[in-house]
């Protein structure tokens, strides 16, 4: 009888403790994979631009739309906590744009991208540029289904940003050191910034650019073209 009672207790405990092993971001990751397959099937290059507020993301996008618009159809998904200012700038530059206001949310998630794509309907072979919410923390964790994240670090920030926000620089395939034309007026150590980015991510591609003067943009566009070619060449 004693054995039975013991077995019964063990069994009831087994029933009340349920092993889930459930990944907390599983839903976002699944939706991101769906976006990724959608992009791949249409040979669309999707880049997720991430940075602190004020790094010059929108200006870089405006330049890219003007400079690359004749080579590829470019559509933009704009994430901001509030206002439609950025999307108005993007449309003025000549690209269709969907603005996602995240409200109190500090990053874009994969379902927001899916909704944006449903509205934008980017054609085969186009480019979708996603401007994430200005924030170097949260967007690193949320896969949107993009081909690559591109971090933008302006030289008016600290050169130790890659060490302070390693998740973001590790998750990014390239970093743009923007506002490089301002370096003569600043104490920003460009080489140190590059070294810090490589400490965190040895494989990261680095481009020194100025969205204002156009300096260095040709090399960055070269990288974008390589990525677009890789997307077209990858088997579905």
């Amino acid at each position: 009888m004693h054995g039975y009672a013991h077995d019964h207790a063990a069994k009831s405990e087994q029933e009340t403790i349920v092993t889930l092993e459930a990944r907390l971001l599983a839903k976002n990751d699944a939706l991101a994979e769906r976006n990724r397959a959608w992009f791949r099937g249409r040979e669309i290059l999707a880049l997720n631009l991430v940075s602190s507020p004020g790094s010059g993301k929108t200006t870089l996008l405006e330049r890219a739309i003007r400079d690359l618009g004749s080579e590829a159809f470019i559509a933009v998904i704009e994430g901001d906590q509030a206002t439609v200012n950025d999307s108005e700038r993007i449309r003025a530059a000549g690209a269709p744009c969907v603005q996602v206001n995240t409200g109190t949310g500090c990053h874009l998630e994969a379902d927001m991208i899916a909704r944006g794509l449903a509205e934008l309907k980017p054609p085969v072979g186009s480019m979708v540029l996603i401007e994430n919410v200005g924030n170097l923390v949260c967007p690193a964790l949320f896969d949107l289904g993009e081909h690559a994240k591109v971090a933008i670090l302006s030289v008016t920030e600290g050169e130790d940003k890659p060490l302070k926000y390693p998740h973001m620089f590790q998750a990014s395939r390239a970093v743009l050191l923007n506002k490089i034309d301002l370096v003569p007026h600043l104490d920003f150590d460009v080489e140190k910034a590059v070294e810090n980015a490589r400490v965190v991510n040895p494989d990261i591609a680095v481009f020194r650019v100025s969205a204002r003067t156009g300096e260095g943009l040709a090399a960055w566009y070269g990288w974008v073209r390589e990525q677009a070619a890789a997307v077209r060449a990858s088997p579905f």
Partner: protein, 112 residues
């Protein structure tokens, strides 16, 4: 503050798995390099759980130390930061632990 959204995911996933039963305790595994602050999860858990199957549930968070295997020399080493190099100097590594972000178990009220 992505922790608020993540805490909502905890409550949503656990509620669904509970299938109508009350959840007495949730145990999370959070890697130290997961990019999530456990304090922030604790801070919002009670509020997010209010009125759900997890109302009043205990929250246990097991923090997992990060470890990596060096791809140059094969050593397994502790990784307190995302960019800790191996003693041999190499940064090329395979991360073995420390990025976990999951619900390990839930404890349910006994079925009536």
């Amino acid at each position: 503050m992505h922790e608020l959204g993540i805490t909502r995911n905890v409550v949503a996933i656990a509620s669904e798995a509970a299938q109508g039963r009350r959840v007495l305790k949730v145990t999370l595994e959070v890697g130290r390099l997961s990019g999530v602050m456990t304090e922030a999860i604790r801070f919002c858990f009670d509020t997010v759980a209010e009125g759900t199957a997890l109302d009043g549930a205990e929250l246990e968070i097991r923090e997992i130390d990060a470890q990596a295997r060096c791809l140059a020399c094969g050593t397994v080493y502790a990784m307190p930061t995302l960019f800790t190099a191996c003693a041999c100097g190499s940064r090329e590594c395979e991360r073995l632990a420390g990025e976990e972000l999951k619900i390990k178990t839930i404890e349910l009220e006994e079925a009536a």
